[in-house]
């Protein structure tokens, strides 16, 4: 038996051992001996070695194809050998980290099996080199591909699931079939609740990297409301009604240098405003259902409360054409494309008529705010206006509309503010608006209904 075959057999032992560990001692989410953790924490460091070495091999093979640089090709065998060693040691360290550091879940499992398979693939590739000119390139390519996949999963564990994709341009996202970025949506919870709108986003930004269902240091998961209230291995972290007695409050309020301070390991700390929000929420009972604006003293969030309209960007050309032909402006409310458009007529209000509204039908779902004060709009224009189902704000002041026309607005379920200043609206007209569930403000200055 040659040296090479002996080496191959020796290397097979730890590879088989690795598979045995994955099968018989998979990580279970518990934390264990600190020595195992100590070695395990070298995994994120060691992981760069096999990646660099294995990427080097195909480059050396290609560069060395030129006979003048044959020495490079000869060295590729040595580099591949080092790669095999690194590809065996690294997943062993990884297993130590996962097994001792409180990891479990699908992502961890996938990454681990990827790592073990990669070790085996490296070993096979190393054997094939020199034995099969046909199979070796295939095996090498497969190994590098597997390495990329495994490395990406590892990156997701360390830096968050979207670490590579979160800043990806929209066109590239659609190419990969990824969902569009939907603003700053909450991680979990109804955005109409205080928890969903204010608390979950803070946890998502600061805590979930280490305390999610994938990776839960201290047994603590903060990704869902139920998990938050369940707490960690030392018990609940939130005492409803009492922030001072809550472990969560204590940890996030500690000065950055304290060993118990959270988030740990130099990750950015919560702002004073965020800590205040957490305290207010806990003091109010740490409810999952309390409405978003129910806690007095909490600074309100900027911007829109709920997604208000479809993305206007696919209709940009149509919007520009309508602006030009109708003499109105269709202005984005903000740079967030789902904040909707404002229908603006201030430059030439007299040009905007019932016909204008009818012709805006192709973009009706995009308009959330219709500024129609002083326009030529009449009762006849309110029926087409009622198909602008995302309308939240409507200004009809100083138009010729009357009480009887207002009944047509009943389908506007989102309408919050209606300005009828200087119109002929009577008390009966106002009564007919009772069926608009979201309506909060009606302005009736200088109308018969004012008295």
């Amino acid at each position: 038996m040659g040296t090479r075959a002996r080496l191959a057999l020796i290397a097979l032992v730890p590879i088989l051992g690795l598979f045995c560990l994955l099968v018989f001692a998979p990580p279970d989410g518990l934390e264990r001996a600190s020595l195992a953790q100590f070695f395990g924490h070298f995994h994120p460091l060691a992981v760069h070695l096999p990646i660099a070495l294995l990427l080097l091999v195909p480059l050396m093979e290609i560069a060395g194809a030129n006979p003048r640089r044959a020495h490079i090709r000869a060295a590729a065998a040595f580099v591949l050998g080092l790669g095999v060693i690194a590809a065996i040691v690294t997943p062993l360290l990884g297993w130590l980290l996962a097994w001792s550091g409180g990891y479990e879940g699908a992502l961890v499992t996938r990454h681990m099996w990827g790592g073990a398979t990669l070790a085996a693939a490296c070993w096979i590739t190393w054997i094939l080199r020199g034995h099969s000119r046909a199979l070796y390139p295939v095996a090498l390519l497969a190994t590098v591909g597997l390495m990329a996949w495994t490395g990406y999963r590892g990156g997701q564990l360390a830096h968050g699931e979207e670490h590579l994709t979160q800043h990806m341009p929209q066109t590239l996202r659609s190419l990969f079939g990824l969902p569009a970025i939907a603003g700053d949506g909450a991680a979990d919870g109804d955005p109409a609740t205080f928890y969903g709108a204010r608390i979950a986003p803070i946890l998502k930004d600061h805590c979930l990297l280490c305390h999610s269902s994938e990776k839960h240091r201290g047994g603590l998961r903060l990704g869902t409301y139920a998990a938050i209230m369940h707490g960690g291995k030392d018990g609940p972290v939130i005492v409803p009604g009492n922030p001072q007695a809550s472990e969560l409050h204590r940890r996030i309020s500690l000065p950055a240098g304290d060993k118990d301070a959270m988030p740990a390991e130099g990750k950015p700390h919560l702002s004073a405003a965020d800590i205040k929000l957490m305290d207010l929420w806990i003091a109010a009972g740490a409810s999952a259902t309390l409405p978003r604006d129910a806690i007095a003293g909490a600074a309100r969030v900027a911007g829109p409360e709920l997604p208000s309209a479809p993305d206007y960007r696919p209709q940009l050309q149509q919007i520009a054409a309508l602006e030009a032909s109708l003499g109105v402006q269709l202005v984005p409310r903000s740079q967030i494309p789902t904040d909707g458009l404002i229908l603006r007529t201030a430059s030439f209000p007299a040009h905007a008529s019932d016909a204008t509204i009818a012709r805006l039908a192709p973009v009706r779902s995009l308009i959330v705010d219709a500024e129609l004060a002083r326009t030529a709009v009449t009762d006849a224009g309110l029926a087409p206006l009622a198909t602008f189902t995302n309308l939240r704000k409507l200004d009809l002041s100083y138009t010729a509309i009357t009480s009887s026309g207002l009944r047509a607005l009943a389908p506007l379920r989102q309408l919050e503010t209606l300005n009828l200043t200087g119109t002929a609206t009577s008390a009966a007209g106002v009564a007919s608006l009772k069926s608009n569930p979201a309506l909060k403000h009606i302005y009736l200055f200088q109308t018969p209904a004012e008295e």
């Binding site: 405003a273 600074a299 309100r300 900027a302 911007g303 829109p304 202005v331 984005p332 409310r333 903000s334 740079q335 967030i336 904040d339 603006r344 201030a346 430059s347 004060a373 002083r374 200004d395 002041s397 503010t417 300005n419 200043t421 403000h441 302005y443 200055f445 200088q446």
Partner: protein
């Protein structure tokens, strides 16, 4: 067509070769950043705004905060006694801090920076293409008051394109001069005249490439449109009786503060982005007792009427009203002290502003001064934080509203970190 058709040689030749390469690079950089045509704007607001427009009620000269809004009941007992040393600390007293009046308006004492209104015009643009985005209304002088001069640089555009500068309406006579075409000149003739001038300006632009030429073309166009829009704006004949009951008869006299408040409401209705009303006379270095009642009588009702009127017309929710001056005034007397005559000097350490509508948190007082209205003891708010908060209410992230000038991404809030005062948000 290239925005800068002139060659480098032509350019240097014209300048007589005196420009150094460094300053040439600076010039080219500024022109390049400004772009060729159209009112440049950074696009829609960064996030959905609470306020679409703002009105600033500027009490020029700096109102004495302790006499108006920062009432100190314990002060009366200290009448004619010295200010305790523990209050003043080691601060050096200065007599006049002239020049500081630009501070809350442009965010910077150094002349040449754009004013808040110019930044808003640049950042948010027009809502009504027939009216300027930024209008300044100067109010009549109050007889006997210390009427410090004000200058157009207070509403200037600084390094921003000059079309973002505030358009000042006059306080006497016609608010805007030469709105009427002269006898014998029809609208068509005027149109042809403006078009001709613009064509000549366009030739100049193609030769020199200065973006200010395009700004001038747009200003001519705006002036032409204002010939129609301003008479409609200032025609208060159709205002209902309730308007005069609210604003008082003062509002019938053009140029009074009350009249300007009424005009500000009419501009809010018509889509002017930022209106700033100046009332001079607050620089009460002497005779606080005599002048303060006059100043309050001239401004109090207009302020109340404006906020009330905006509210009843459904405009207050998205109109931010800001009242304030340049700085505060001293608790101690400047000049002789008698019960019925004393003065108050400039005081930089604290002053009071109020905001209404437009997403400002109603019904709260933020921050606290000591018993002498001298030092801030709780929740200090810097001018740059106020500016950041105002921008926030208008949907702008103050870190993102920038303009490249002299190698810096210039900001209203400057380079020292500013923060939005969340307690002031509704």
């Amino acid at each position: 067509m290239s925005p800068r058709r002139h060659s480098r040689r032509q350019f240097i030749g014209r300048m007589g070769g005196v420009l150094s390469w460094a300053s040439l690079a600076a010039l080219m950089g500024a022109a390049g950043a400004a772009g060729p045509a159209g009112a440049q704007s950074p696009g829609p607001p960064n996030f959905a705004p609470r306020a679409k427009r703002a009105i600033s009620l500027f009490m020029s000269g700096a109102p004495p905060q302790m006499d108006l809004l920062d009432y100190k009941p314990r002060l009366a007992a200290y009448y004619d006694s010295e200010l305790p040393d523990s209050v003043r600390g080691s601060q050096t007293l200065t007599g006049m801090t002239a020049g500081q009046s630009r501070f809350p308006i442009t965010g910077n004492m150094v002349p040449g920076k754009p004013s808040l209104g110019a930044w808003l015009s640049y950042g948010l643009g027009n809502m009504n293409e027939n009216l300027p985005a930024f209008v300044v209304l100067n109010s009549r002088l109050i007889p006997g008051a210390d009427n410090q001069p004000i200058a157009p640089r207070l509403w200037g555009s600084g390094f921003l394109s000059s079309e973002h500068a505030g358009v000042a309406f006059r306080s006497q006579g016609d608010p805007v001069l030469y709105l009427n075409d002269p006898d014998g000149m029809s609208r068509e003739t005027r149109r042809a005249l403006v078009s001709g001038i613009n064509a000549v300006n366009q030739l100049t632009y193609e030769e020199v490439g200065d973006p200010e030429t395009h700004a001038r073309i747009r200003q001519y166009e705006m002036a032409f449109r204002m010939q129609t829009s301003v008479p409609e704006l200032t025609d208060t004949a159709n205002e209902p009786k309730s308007t005069w009951e609210l604003y008082g008869d003062d509002a019938r006299v053009p140029g009074t503060f009350a009249y300007n408040c009424l005009l500000a409401r009419r501009m809010a209705e018509r889509g002017v982005r930022f209106t700033q009303i100046y009332q001079r006379g607050w620089d009460v270095h002497k005779n606080v007792v005599g002048n303060l009642p006059k100043l309050c009588a001239a401004t109090d009702r207009g302020c109340y009427a404006l906020v009330t009127d905006l509210q009843r017309r459904g405009l207050l929710a998205d109109t931010l009203v800001i009242w304030g001056g340049e700085f505060g005034r001293t608790v101690y007397s400047q000049g002789g002290l008698t019960r019925d005559n004393y003065g108050r000097d400039h005081h930089p350490r604290c002053f009071t502003m109020w905001m209404a509508g437009g997403g400002a948190n109603p019904g709260i007082a933020h921050g606290q001064t000591d018993d002498f209205s001298y030092n801030i003891v709780e929740d200090p708010v810097h001018v740059r934080d106020i500016n950041a908060t105002v921008l926030h209410l208008l949907g702008i992230d103050h870190e993102k509203l920038t303009y490249r000038f002299q190698g810096l991404d210039q900001k209203l809030t400057g380079v020292v970190p500013a923060k939005v005062v969340t307690e002031l948000l509704a």
